[in-house]
Symmetry: C2
């Protein structure tokens, strides 16, 4: 993990010390195994934790990016420009949210911007670290990916449900 | 796998014999390891293959469902009722598409209906089989989940990009 990834943010080191905190915010999926504190301690060395001040930009729309962020506390504004370049808020997210996972996985430009509303602590997982995790800890990697599929499914349900009302028959 | 899952469709047995065919349609992600034929042969026993005739209903909006389908050939109409109960087409998908993965993962009701437009061959993966796969073949499970995250990300980008143009500032 580069030391200069977020030069303006407080660098809180790897995520080993945040295992219990992350477990509390990560949420629960009744259908599949949850993360144990043990899992998150194994995950710790693969992630790096930062703290953004209010207005700190975590992700910038249109940029390239090979990492995702997982919010541990705080509040984050998610905005996107529409086709007329007007900035629109598409979500406000709290602790336990995944940010930037689409670009991490598909390599395309950042879809939206994410900026801290209040001071926000977040753990970063890069594409390279995810690949290492799949190789070294495939069972744990499966849990993370399952969690991402779950989050993306929920967001896709919400987004598609809104959109369908605008579609022509 | 229940023999009666799709009683009206041709039952083509498990997916072992479809490894090469699936590999051809599964697509390519330059950022992560692709599926090898070897992978798909390992996957075969966990999936079951059916062939739906034209108009055959693969997934029904509002129902409960604990499986996803992966299309091997054919053409599928994806429709959803809007808030006025008007049925709207939200997509037409070809070989290589994932259907029903949201309900498989989050356990909620089917978001949309999927029906064959022309005769369509598809492989079914149930939640139980996915859990077995995570336990028995975690590296392979990671590849499948990565593929699902990739597909969901692409769909979420497309859906959100359309929706943002309708949002108020």
């Amino acid at each position: 993990m580069s030391e200069t990834m977020f030069p303006d943010f407080e660098n809180l080191g790897n995520a080993v010390g945040y295992a219990e905190k992350i477990r509390q915010v990560v949420g629960h999926n009744a259908l599949f195994d949850d993360f144990t504190v043990e899992d998150l301690k194994h995950l710790g060395p693969y992630m790096h934790v930062y703290r953004a001040p209010p207005h700190g930009r975590i992700i910038v729309e249109g940029e390239r990016g090979d990492f995702m962020a997982f919010t541990i506390d705080g509040l984050v504004d998610v905005t996107k420009k529409d086709r007329w370049d007007v900035v629109k808020r598409i979500a406000v997210v709290q602790a336990g949210a995944a940010l930037g996972e689409m670009s991490m996985i598909d390599g395309e430009a950042r879809f939206a911007s994410c900026a801290a509303i209040e001071a926000t602590t977040f753990a970063v997982l890069t594409r390279v670290k995810l690949q290492e995790l799949i190789t070294n800890e495939p069972r744990l990697a499966s849990k993370i990916l399952m969690k991402l599929v779950y989050m993306l499914s929920q967001r896709l349900r919400q987004t598609s449900a809104k959109l369908v009302n605008y579609l022509e028959k």
